[in-house]
């Protein structure tokens, strides 16, 4: 039986952590993810769970301690945002190359500067090449559901990679919404116990974790990470299927919303997808125009072929990025979606817009305007302003 509740995104993640009851959680507070370690520390102080909380002195130490605990054989996780994750930079790469199945609750926040506490994806998108699996959420329900699926993906023997469970700072992290919680017994059964194949505290198998790798070994290590990321595709879908059996809620690499017959589509990540859905409903109801949405859930590994197939019939596509990469062209999602479409020899016209940087709001009306532009491009067969902004003050 699902439990009907109303929780903020941070409360939902903290509750998921309580239900999973990991062995170790080192963390250092940073807005807007601070509440997650705060709530977990409260659960521990109240004697509700037996997790070892390590109040470290920085995020660098938070991820270092998480690495250590995970390498020792424990189930370990942490939470952070923005500059906090930036301070973990070296350890992010170490976690992935040491093949440590760590889970991190990332509450997306703009990276400085100017200093800003609000949502965009510049923190996690900057870490897209670090070797972590990245899963994004539209709502509190999704971030909770994704979090429950994180350890089964990370710890699968064919994967053994760290997983970042991302949600939009303040928008979902501090927004209270209805949510259906899974009963704790079912969560525990779903997530199971960690049974590491190799671990540091195994006296029968002395081993080193993270030693120096000369050129003769480094490249093979990277290939191993790539194979693991490829394997993650299958495992992510298997875990999602098992999750659907438990809850009835279906997840894949992405969600297709009114996309099947769509002529004009938006590709987007995160909480703004919900606002876009309202625009899709409104346009379809008022005008009958065939507009649709593809919401990316899994950005790493990138679902290249599946995404191109889902968009193969669409005339014009707007890819919306909530972070810059200063290529002086588009953003990271735009680049990857277009590469996927090129590989599939798709002939859709594509534009790539920036939105929501530093928490700039995006509304139903903004999405309506994007769909109007897509329609115009399709009619005129001419792409103008391929790279542009939504909601920029002029």
């Amino acid at each position: 039986m699902a439990v009907r509740e109303r929780l903020s995104g941070n409360e939902a993640v903290a509750y998921a952590i309580k239900q999973i009851e990991p062995d170790v959680m080192p963390a250092f507070p940073i807005t807007p993810s601070t509440e997650i370690p705060q709530y977990v520390a409260t659960y521990i102080a109240n004697g509700e769970i037996d997790t070892e909380f390590i109040p470290v002195e920085s995020e660098h130490s938070a991820m270092s301690a998480t690495l250590g605990a995970c390498a020792a054989g424990a189930r370990a996780l942490t939470a952070t945002s923005s500059c906090g994750m930036a301070l973990m930079w070296e350890e992010l790469y170490v976690a992935a190359s040491d093949r440590l199945p760590i889970v991190m609750a990332l509450v997306n926040r703009a990276l400085s500067g100017p200093i800003n506490i609000n949502a965009d994806h510049s923190d996690s998108m900057g870490a897209r090449d670090s070797g972590w699996i990245q899963i994004y959420a539209e709502s509190n329900q999704e971030v909770y559901d994704n979090f429950l699926q994180a350890f089964p993906i990370a710890e699968h023997k064919d994967v053994m990679l760290p997983v970042m469970i991302c949600q939009d700072g303040f928008i979902t992290s501090h927004g209270v919404e209805n949510i259906l919680l899974v009963e704790t017994d079912s969560v525990k059964q779903f997530v199971g116990e960690r049974n590491p194949e190799h671990y540091l505290l195994n006296a029968k198998e002395p081993m080193a974790v993270g030693p120096y790798a000369v050129s003769n070994y480094y490249m093979e290590t990277k290939r191993g990470q790539r194979e693991a990321m490829k394997n993650a595709r299958k495992v992510i879908l298997e875990v999602a299927e098992r999750f659907e059996k438990m809850t009835g809620r279906k997840y894949g690499f992405f969600e297709e919303y009114c996309l099947e017959d769509a002529e004009y589509a938006i590709v987007i990540i995160g909480s703004a997808a919900g606002t876009c859905k309202a625009a899709v409903n409104k346009i379809r109801k008022e005008t009958g125009k065939k507009v649709g949405l593809l919401k990316i859930r899994v950005f790493r590994p990138f679902p290249e072929e599946e995404l191109a197939a889902a968009l193969s019939h669409v005339k014009t596509i707007a890819v919306l990025d909530r972070s810059e990469m200063f290529s002086a062209t588009g953003g990271p999602l735009g680049a990857e979606v277009q590469a996927a479409l090129y590989q599939a020899k798709a002939d859709a016209d594509v534009v790539n817009y920036f939105y929501g940087l530093g928490g700039r709001d995006i509304t139903v009306e903004d999405f309506e305007q994007v769909y109007s532009k897509l329609e115009r491009i399709a009619k005129e067969h001419k792409v103008t302003d391929k790279y542009d902004y939504i909601g920029l003050r002029k």
Partner: protein, 196 residues
């Protein structure tokens, strides 16, 4: 969107406008609604103007933007009226509810010609009378519930009673005072302004 009620709260950091929005979401949730309650943060300091929002609906709400055309606006601190156009975007058939010691006719000139319904409540006086302390949140919450009609009065009071019983489990002596504040505020808004 048709059956979604949208509410915007204006307050100052530390006054509890965000808490009020979350409490309203809470009580609406308990009466079976789909709810959203969320703050918009500017500079993080006491006294800075802050905005919080509610969407309350019979169907799931997926929109994650702020609210620009609210059905109702609640103003927790009347000193904001001089610097912020609180009725901006407010629907003409909507209403603004203002916590103030002033009379309505003194407030009207500060509302930029807003033509919809205006309700005033002296939440401080209500709180002092009921609780002996100035906690304007509970009276404002009751006023918003009364004016918006998002839930029947008896459901609202029943759920708030349960909420207070939980929240003040270790201080049960303040539960009655808080409930009295709600009822007084409800009555005040109905009497002064003639509610639907």
């Amino acid at each position: 969107m048709d059956n979604t009620v949208e509410i915007r709260w204006h307050g100052r950091g530390g006054q509890g406008a965000k808490t009020a929005a979350l409490l309203l979401a809470d009580v609406a949730f308990k009466t079976g609604k789909y709810v959203q309650g969320f703050p918009e943060y500017g500079p993080e300091r006491m006294g800075a103007p802050i905005t919080a929002y509610n969407r309350i609906s019979d169907a799931p709400v997926t929109i994650h933007s702020n609210i620009y055309d609210p059905d109702y606006v609640a103003v927790v601190d009347d000193s904001l009226l001089e610097s912020i156009d609180v009725t901006h975007g407010l629907k003409r058939n909507g209403a603004v509810i203002i916590n103030t010691e002033k009379k309505k006719e003194h407030i009207m000139p500060l509302l930029h010609g807003f033509e919809g319904a205006v309700y005033v409540l002296d939440a401080k006086a209500v709180s002092m009378k009921a609780l002996g302390k100035n906690y304007p949140n509970s009276p404002m919450l009751a006023a918003v519930a009364a004016v918006s009609g998002v839930m029947p009065k008896k459901d609202f009071l029943r759920e708030m009673q349960a909420s207070f019983a939980h929240k003040f489990a270790k201080k049960p002596e303040v539960i009655d005072g808080n409930m009295r504040a709600l009822e007084l505020a409800f009555a005040e808004v109905e009497k002064e302004n003639g509610c639907k």
